[in-house]
């Protein structure tokens, strides 16, 4: 019943923390099992709430990294030095703990319907919702063309390396490192700009659905460059998540 579904999504619930594993230099993967979970759309997020002893609460939104076909949910949390929530999630939280969350939320920044090409553009931990989308694409045997352009600071900052390495032939992953590459690196280096977008993304003539996610400055620069290249704003969706250490 719709009413029941609405109440469930609004209610805070305590999810079992199954594991907290280091994912990248500053990012940790939280495997969670919410007791009451009816699934999610690839790209959706949950709200996480921490409550201090005095009753003070802090709340943040985190994209779901896991595909809907997988049991439970996984979040990938980047530790921000001056953060209020992420230091707890990455340094204090342990397997066996409970974590208060609600969701899933957000029907806008989700895997696009249809068979047309999809271009994903990620800065830093902005790759997280795309891991869910790519997992969904793989699990459903999708035939549409998908490209991911992923900008990270260094090789050690790359999130989802294992997953990104095993993509079906319909998916092409391009990584660029902005703050130095290890010896033997054969991928791209440098920031995502109009030139890099022109060379390594699906051209506007093919009318791809474009989703860009990352720190606010990154996403706004990418969105402007996409418009310069001639992409129709109607097919560009962005998810700006504020400040981080940068892509």
């Amino acid at each position: 019943m719709a009413g029941t579904a609405i109440r469930r999504r609004l209610s805070w619930q305590r999810a079992d923390v199954l594991a907290v594993q280091r994912e990248a230099r500053r990012a940790y993967r939280l495997s969670l099992r919410p007791p009451d979970w009816s699934g999610h759309l690839p790209g959706q997020h949950v709200d996480v709430r921490l409550t201090a002893e005095g009753g003070y609460t802090a709340q943040r939104s985190y994209s779901i990294a896991s595909a809907p076909q997988q049991p439970g949910i996984e979040l990938i949390v980047e530790r921000l030095e001056d953060g209020e929530v992420s230091p707890y999630l990455t340094e204090v939280l342990r397997a066996g703990d409970l974590l208060e969350l609600r969701g899933p939320f957000g029907g806008y920044f989700v895997w696009p319907a249809g068979d047309g090409p999809v271009q994903l553009i990620a800065g830093g931990s902005g790759v997280v919702p795309f891991l869910s989308m790519l997992g969904h694409h793989r699990a459903t045997g999708g035939l549409r063309q998908v490209r991911l352009l992923y900008s990270a600071r260094t090789f050690d900052d790359l999130i989802g390396q294992a997953e990104l390495a095993r993509q079906p032939s319909t998916v092409e992953v391009t990584v660029t490192l902005t703050r130095g590459a290890p010896a033997g690196w054969t991928g791209l280096t440098g920031r995502v700009d109009a030139r890099l977008l022109a060379e390594h993304t699906i051209p506007p003539a093919q009318e791809p659905e474009v989703l860009a996610c990352g720190p606010t400055g990154f996403v706004e620069a990418v969105a402007n460059a996409l418009l310069e290249l001639g992409h129709d704003p109607i097919r560009i969706k962005t998810e700006r998540f504020g400040a981080t250490g940068g892509p």
Binding site: I6, S38, S61, P68, G106, G107, Y108, G217, E220
Partner: protein, 104 residues
């Protein structure tokens, strides 16, 4: 006032307001089209800039930056200020509703 760099860093997309707004609305308001009362620009609410660090969530027009929606919860009250929105259009195609069947 915050400095401009700080303001940029704190700007999110209103997509992140989906949870708080679900406290009040039975549909996902972030996929609704919102028309700015100031300039008339129409865009999905999720694509509006969101400032979440204020005492209230403040959603601004992507074109003219006027305040479109303010929302606050706390002290046992939910408060909504929609002065800046001339029109909200919710499409009832299923995708807009929280009750939609998620991908399984």
């Amino acid at each position: 006032m915050t400095d401009p760099d700080d303001a940029v860093a704190r700007r999110l997309d209103a997509n992140a307001a989906a949870g708080p707004l679900a406290e009040l609305f039975t549909v996902d308001l972030t996929v609704a089209m919102a028309t700015c009362a100031g300039c008339g620009n129409t865009a999905p609410l999720a694509a509006h800039p969101l400032y979440a660090h204020a005492p209230a969530l403040v959603i601004r027009c992507p074109k003219c930056a006027a305040v479109v929606l303010r929302y606050a919860s706390g002290g046992g009250r939910l408060r909504l200020d929609l002065r800046g929105a001339r029109l909200l259009t919710v499409t009832l195609d299923g995708a807009a509703a929280h009750g939609l069947s998620p991908v399984q």
